[in-house]
Amino acid sequence: MDLSVKIGKVRFENPVTVASGTFGYLEKYHDAKMIKKLGAITPKTITLKAQEGNPAPRIVETPAGMVNAIGIQNLGVDAFIEQQLPVYAKLKVPVIVSVSGKSAEEFILLASKLNHAGVAAIELNLSCPNLGKKTLIAQDAKATEAVVKAVKKMARVPIIAKLTPNVTDISLMAKAAENAGADAVSMINTFSAMVIDVNTLRPKLGNFTGGLSGPAITPVALHMVYQTAQRVKIPVIAMGGISNADDALQFLIAGATMVAVGTASFLNPQAPYEVLEGIQRYMKEKEIKDIQAVIDSLIKE
């Protein structure tokens, strides 16, 4: 059975990865044997300098999901390269490194530090403020295009543009990324959201607002992935509440090339492995030999 997929020139053993910010600290709690089975892992977004993150509370539970405002707490790219990359190298699992910057220059600097063997691909988390403007980079087709183009010029590994669903038409943003030379788009990031405590009359998050994730967003994410896959030729890496193989298969059938398990891991830390096993079982039962026969197999009439 061939589950391998390609992003740019890089081949991944299977289409299952994890969503940035939802999977890590592998050394202690995960079995090296299991981690290695995943197509790739995507650690939490890193920035040029260490960031301390948002005030507590940073998370709140919602029906079939959660709202988070972590604030990209991370050690900064240099500490990441020194401390985290060697761990992944030892585990022998391909790593998609997620980065975020405030300008094209910052993205270039980040990519130049990661432009070496040991990084399978770089994901640009474009859900970050677009310097000098009120929108996020990923909410502005021109800004998205400019950042992707700048990074693509110097990148030696595939470049993935991660998109926000907080736009009128996400497929237009995907198209902009494709035009700029992106090797894939990753979608979706969280939906802008808030929750209020009626007793204190205050928002439940220290940051006031946050982003909604989890099974609550799955059908919306699926529709966005479907629309986007129709519109662009580059691969789509899909996420949005994927919790089991059925969810993952829906995204693959809708046209996604890879699927990422995110929030679901908090409830069930085994979810990424169960998704992979479930896809394999499905293919075996249906006697499908190649994952390519699953991808974009939706019957449309």
Partner: protein
């Protein structure tokens, strides 16, 4: 998973005060590994509602794994309806644990607010017969919410109680009992667990008196294993996760 996601069979789930339950679980792996101050992250339901697991301190780990919990919301209400024989999905044991008192300690004072007493049952099992003067300062709303403390007393612990309405012990907050804490920076060691305002009152008492000790912190948790960074709490050295760096922190970290 390196054996931290485990099934546990419920042996008993009994009401032990007007609003608390004791959950007795058959779970050998966690029982063997658990240290005082650690917690388990419990999935109270199949399906997606409620969506997060719920963290509970391990309150004892003798023959069986024991949790003590207060029914305060949907998750704990669902838990209270579980029956003997039912299975629960747990992550654990998680987090760091209380350290043993430093050399030279004579007086160990545990300060508990409401259900914050839970981890002290296990801690006192570890500290008994070691020549400490064990004291528990325990604050509760009212008499009917005071948990049975037999095992604590059997472990040689002296108990002082404060209730908000004065129905048992002295009337007022647990902080009314801080006068019982021997102010001896070399010989006294404090452990505190309870709601945030109580922890603040402990800090406000301990810092000017240069007392040493540890507190168990609380934050809402999603993953419980240090991944999501959702349970971060601000310490003197930056944000730390309550689930992985904690739940136990040195008093002087706050």
């Amino acid at each position: 998973m390196k054996k931290i996601q485990l099934k546990a069979r419920i042996i008993a789930n009994k009401k032990v005060s007007s609003s608390h339950y004791r959950l007795i679980l058959e779970q050998k792996d966690i029982l063997r590994k658990a240290r005082p101050g650690q917690f388990v992250h419990v999935r109270v339901n199949e399906g997606l509602d409620p969506y997060f697991r719920r963290p509970f301190s391990i309150s004892r780990a003798q023959e069986h794994l024991e949790l003590l919990y207060a029914v305060v919301g949907r998750g704990t209400e669902i838990l209270s309806r579980k029956k003997a024989g039912d299975e629960l999905d747990l992550l654990g044991p998680l987090g760091n644990h209380f350290c043993m008192p430093p050399k030279g300690t004579r007086n160990v004072v545990m300060i508990a607010g409401a259900i914050g007493i839970a981890p002290f049952f296990m801690l006192s099992d570890y500290l008994r017969d070691k020549n400490y003067e064990l004291t528990l300062l325990y604050g509760a709303k009212t008499k009917t919410q005071i948990l049975p403390m037999r095992s604590l007393k059997d472990n040689g612990c002296r108990v002082y109680i404060a209730t908000d309405d004065g129905t048992q012990g002295i009337k007022g907050r647990v902080s009314e009992l801080y006068a019982k804490i021997p102010i001896d920076t070399q010989k006294t060691f404090i452990y505190a667990c309870g709601p945030k305002p109580m922890i603040d009152s402990v800090l406000a008492f301990a810092h000017p008196n240069h007392l040493k000790g540890q507190v168990s912190a609380e934050e809402i948790m999603a993953c419980g294993i240090g991944v999501c960074l959702g349970c971060a709490t601000k310490t003197k050295t930056g944000y730390k996760t309550v689930c992985k760096d904690g739940p136990v922190f040195d008093l002087n970290e706050f």
